[in-house]
């Protein structure tokens, strides 16, 4: 039997890798993928919790997370396309209109 800790550690590791990607990469598409990675990490821990607590609510939550991820991907990618069309770049540090 695999202990719950292992799953949670795996989830944490994937989450941190996602976060690392988000914090370091310049390419906005890869940042987006890092975001999806983090969501998946959370999903892993939710499903494993659900499994070990014999409760379906984790699955329900995963279901909603996937829904939101799909919505987010659609909107986010639309924004990326608009941005690229206007700025001819996918590098976020070149988009600094909000700089104070």
């Amino acid at each position: 039997m695999v202990p719950l800790h292992w799953y949670l550690t795996l989830s944490a590791a994937v989450f941190m890798i996602g976060m690392f990607g988000f914090l370091t990469r310049r390419n906005i598409i890869i940042m987006f993928m890092s975001l999806e990675l983090m969501l998946n990490a959370v999903n892993i821990s939710l499903v494993s919790f659900s499994h070990y607590l014999q409760d379906m609510r984790g699955h329900i939550l995963v279901f909603f997370v996937i829904t939101v991820a799909a919505a987010e991907a659609a909107i986010g990618l639309a924004i990326i396309i608009t941005l690229f069309r206007n700025k001819q770049t996918a590098h976020v540090d070149e988009m600094n209109e909000m700089k104070g």
Binding site: L10, R26, M33, I80
Partner: protein, 170 residues
């Protein structure tokens, strides 16, 4: 022992693929690695007796979302970007931060106390099938959030169209 071995395999591959996803220069490659990663995560879900979630993972994530990513990657011409520097300047800071956070979170795992188990044991789910059990819950107790989720999707569809379409008049 076999289970541990399976888990070890999945964990190793998932972490490796994750690293590949975030480190590739070419976003197209990243998407491909990610596809593989999602299949592995789906495998992990099967391992956790969540076959419906695994199916959704493959269908929605791998089938829909990633294809969307792929479209965008192909749509945008990123040749020049690939040649340039790939990271923002402060990546060691970020790495350090992530490492500490990882240590902190795993340290916190030691304090985890298992709560009381619910009624959905593996046998119950097997008798009822996972999709049916999930569906029952989703359409009764979680009907309202479910409707909200559908609305969110609708908004996303409309929003994506509005955002991405070219302004014809200008």
């Amino acid at each position: 022992m076999l289970q541990q071995l399976f888990f070890g395999y999945y964990a190793f591959i998932i972490i490796g693929l994750s690293l590949l996803v975030v480190t590739r220069k070419n976003p197209g490659h990243s998407v491909m690695w990610m596809l593989l990663l999602f299949f592995h995560i789906a495998g992990l879900y099967l391992f956790l007796n969540a076959e419906f979630i695994a199916a959704i993972q493959v269908i929605v994530y791998a089938g829909a979302i990633l294809v969307l990513f792929l479209f965008v990657v192909l749509l945008l011409n990123l040749r020049e970007e690939i040649a340039l520097r790939q990271t923002v300047g402060s990546w060691p800071v970020a790495f350090f931060m992530c490492a500490i956070l990882f240590v902190a979170v795993t340290a916190a795992l030691g304090a985890y106390v298992q709560g009381p188990v619910g009624g959905y044991s593996i046998d119950v789910i097997q008798n009822e099938t996972h999709a049916k059990a999930l569906g029952k819950l989703l359409y009764t107790e979680y009907l309202f959030p479910f409707e909200i989720a559908s609305l969110i999707l609708l908004v996303a569809v409309v929003g994506a169209v509005v955002l991405a379409k070219r302004k014809l008049r200008s």
